[in-house]
């Protein structure tokens, strides 16, 4: 019986410790996060752990949008209060942050996460609690399949991978590709999978797929393998911090073929550090920073004034996600969650920093991918690939 006693005490202790958080029975569904003069929006991204800088960029972008909106009178007459939680790149933290946002803070909408695996963990919690969730940058297709309240404002790997393969095959006329990808990163593996499938479907051949693990900085092994495969293009669906090193090490070993990349390349530091090595390379992005558009330049300027550097694409998506929510509330004219989600579903031709987009019937943003080329230390737009162009 002593064991049982130990156990009872332990359990009692747990219960006792947390009893403070008693359940608030009222305000179950319906309008969310609204107090007298403010509305709560939730943001959950990783600002510590492996991909901390992506989370921080997203948060910085969202912060700018929130202060702009508040300065302009808020959403529907209410000031925006951003409730932010760091989820430390861990699924268990994503789950508890999502639960906290949905049931304790009772936010109107949850915004996050960057990493698809973390969005997948958070999505069911938001869905069952009737709170819409919008991911700014999770590109893995199944994320939005978790329920009719789950949205994203970026394109999916499926579209981007296929579009990039078509670009390589048709626009650039390449036939032999080599892929370098991060095997621990779903973003990277997802794009690589779709690229390979489409590229080979078109008649090209992927000669080799070289993988590396998180935090790798010595790519000599991968580079030498790529070199002996003699491709005419290298596809590197990786983030800017990796491509800087990969580009340098490929060029250092005399691999001079163009490298093709994805939106993960977009960063203020890319050209500072890799302009020479990535000369003549292409990447697909949400938008072009040279776009003379007022909104784009305005955001870039505000961001640069505040943080000293130009924004990365993740910061731009963080900025856009807040405006996406604002647009939906404005359209719905109410803070009723179901109606806001309905307005989100009907979002059409919404202009954001990362392009003009429409939410499709799978709750994904349908928007063009902007192909950019690095030439003479600058990024130039090659063309836009429209969603209709890709099968």
């Amino acid at each position: 019986m002593r064991n049982a006693l130990t156990l009872l005490i332990a359990l009692a202790a747990v219960t006792f410790v947390v009893l403070a958080g008693c359940k608030d029975q009222g305000n179950e569904a319906g309008s969310g996060g609204v107090t007298e003069d403010s509305v709560k929006l939730g943001l959950f991204v990783s600002t510590t752990g492996a991909i901390a800088d992506f989370g921080l960029a997203t948060k910085n972008g969202a912060d700018i949008a929130v202060s702009e909106i508040n300065a302009a009178g808020g959403i529907n007459g209410k000031q925006v209060e951003l409730v932010f939680y760091d989820i430390a790149s861990k699924p268990e933290e994503a789950k508890s942050a999502a639960t906290k946002l949905a049931t304790q803070d009772k936010v109107l909408v949850g915004m996050g996460a960057v990493a698809s695996s973390l969005s997948l963990t958070a999505a069911p919690t938001f869905q069952t609690n009737g709170v819409p969730m919008v991911s700014p940058s999770s590109t893995f297709p199944p994320v939005t399949e978790k329920g009719d309240l789950i949205f994203r404002i970026c394109f999916t790997d499926e579209f981007a991978g296929a579009a990039l393969a078509q670009f390589a095959f048709e626009d650039l006329g390449k036939r032999k590709a080599a892929i370098i990808m991060n095997q621990d990163d779903p973003y990277s593996t997802g794009l690589a999978n779709y690229f390979k499938a489409r590229f080979e479907q078109l008649g090209g051949k992927v000669e080799t797929t070289e993988k590396f693990a998180n935090n790798t900085s010595d790519f000599n092994t991968q580079v030498d393998n790529v070199k002996s495969a003699t491709p005419d293009i290298v596809f590197a669906p990786v983030y800017y911090n990796d491509i800087t090193l990969i580009g340098q090490q490929l060029r250092g070993k005399g691999v001079t073929v163009p490298i093709l990349g994805s939106d993960g390349w977009e960063s203020p530091t890319l050209l500072k550090n890799a302009a020479k090595d990535l000369e003549g390379c292409y990447f697909g992005n949400h938008y072009s920073q040279n776009d003379p558009d007022e909104m784009v330049q305005g955001f870039i300027k505000t961001y640069a004034d505040k943080h000293g550097d130009k924004p990365s694409s993740l910061a731009a998506l963080g900025y856009d996600v807040v405006y996406f929510v604002k647009n939906a509330v404005d359209k719905a004219g109410t803070f009723d969650r179901a109606k806001v989600a309905g307005a989100m579903r009907n979002t059409k031709d919404l202009k954001g920093v990362t392009g003009t987009y429409t939410i499709d019937n799978k709750r994904n943003a349908s928007k063009p991918i902007t192909m950019l080329k690095i030439t003479g230390g600058k990024v130039e737009m090659v063309r836009q690939i429209m969603p209709e162009e890709v099968k």
């Binding site: 019986m1 002593r2 064991n3 049982a4 006693l5 130990t6 156990l7 009872l8 005490i9 332990a10 359990l11 202790a13 747990v14 219960t15 410790v17 947390v18 958080g21 008693c22 359940k23 600002t47 510590t48 901390a52 989370g55 409730v83 932010f84 939680y85 760091d86 430390a88 861990k90 699924p91 268990e92 933290e93 789950k95 508890s96 639960t99 906290k100 949905a102 049931t103 304790q104 698809s116 695996s117 997948l120 963990t121 893995f140 297709p141 199944p142 978790k146 296929a162 095997q183 621990d184 593996t189 997802g190 999978n193 779709y194 390979k196 499938a197 489409r198 479907q201 993988k211 693990a213």
Partner: protein
């Protein structure tokens, strides 16, 4: 035997009661944290059998947990994986969908982890101390890398859409009175804690402790040390596998990123913080280290300093170790002292576990 069975039934009833109480009156977020605490308790108590009782330093608990998580989710989840030929995600429907199926899947996960425990237990025939630690760490990393490259279970994305199960008592839909995750998790917490406590006091458990204290002497005394060590690994791995399965169904996703060696380190930290060798310590360590990061979440939100949470966490860890290196409980158990005080005059013998020997050389005079 009958008494243990009665204890178990009473405990299960308490679990059910606790489940209903929490669901009714406590915020979902808090329940979520309590459930995580339950998973941590199973992990810490089971690792205590390997590290604390038997004195084998394992850093591979995340590997066992991963095996349990993936095996159980493999049975209960609609598997969605990439088919490179059609460039589409294919879905295989789940193999089981009932509560009994879920329990079976959990046990299967535990058994699979236990089998891995045998495989890891064998090197312990030869390795000691830090060498064993690094070998088990290597095992955990191998498991993780294999899973990451196994497309059928989602590769780096892992599995999502892992279902949650419940036993409906009455009613329907959202308002139904039902036993859910909390009940399953804490039932296993109770089974694990009861069994481990039983083990600790049995002759068998004393043999494990003998292996920890002095392997050579234990061998001379006729204790089959090799078999003991393998047993400890199998036992620990089984419950780590169960914990992994519960973890997967609690989070509704499993990703390889959850099972890095830092996860193993986290569990070891729970043990040492609570007091290595003490089950009460393991439980308290698990509670403290699961609740602490959550509690610090609000601090971080207030301070608006992303990352400060982990700095505080690590400082707490360092200071605790410097000022109380034996852990919160040392080697003591809570129940014993309490019972002594409650029942004056009654001597309870045979419950004190011997102190670990000072095994480091070069102790200063």
């Amino acid at each position: 035997m009958r008494r243990s069975l009665a204890t178990l039934l009473v405990a299960l009833a308490i679990c059910a009661g606790m489940n209903l109480f929490l669901a009714q009156f406590i915020e979902e977020y808090v329940v979520q944290v309590i459930n995580m605490v339950g998973v941590s308790i199973i992990l810490a108590v089971s690792l205590n059998v390997i590290n604390g009782l038997t004195g084998q330093f394992s850093l591979g608990h995340a590997g066992f947990m991963a095996i349990g998580a993936y095996v159980s989710a493999f049975f209960t989840t609609d598997l969605s994986y990439f088919n490179p030929d059609t460039a589409e995600y294919v879905t295989d429907p789940a193999l089981v969908s009932s509560v009994w199926g879920y329990l079976g899947a959990l046990i299967a996960g535990g058994v699979a982890a236990a089998v891995a425990g045998v495989l890891v237990g064998i090197p312990t025939l030869r390795l000691k101390g830090d060498y064993l630690a690094i070998a088990t760490l290597g095992f955990g990393e191998i498991v993780r890398i294999l899973i990451t490259n196994f497309e059928k279970v989602g590769g780096a994305n892992g599995l999502s859409g892992v279902p949650q199960f419940q036993i409906v008592l009455s009613g329907e839909g959202k308002d139904a009175l039902a036993l859910d995750g909390t009940f399953f998790i804490f039932s296993f917490v109770i089974i694990c804690v009861l069994l481990s406590a039983q083990l600790q006091r049995s002759t068998f458990g004393r043999a494990l402790i003998a292996v920890r204290e002095n392997e050579l002497a234990a061998e001379v005394m006729g204790i089959p040390t090799v078999r003991m060590k393998i047993f400890a690994f199998v036992y620990g791995a089984f419950f780590a596998g169960i914990a992994g399965g519960l973890f997967a169904h609690l989070l509704q996703t499993v990703t390889p990123a959850s099972f890095t060696f830092m996860k193993s380190v986290e569990v070891v930290v729970m043990l040492v913080l609570g007091g290595l060798g003490s089950m009460t310590g393991a439980i308290v360590g698990a509670i403290v280290l699961t609740v602490l990061p959550e509690a610090l979440r609000d601090v971080e939100q207030e301070a608006d300093l992303p990352g400060i949470r982990m700095v505080v966490y690590s400082l707490v860890l360092i200071l605790l170790m410097i000022f109380r290196p034996q852990g919160i409980f040392g080697q003591r158990e809570l129940s014993l002292r309490l019972l002594r005080r409650l029942v004056p005059g009654r001597r309870i013998s045979g419950d004190e576990t011997p102190k670990p020997s000072e095994d480091r050389k070069g102790t200063e005079l």
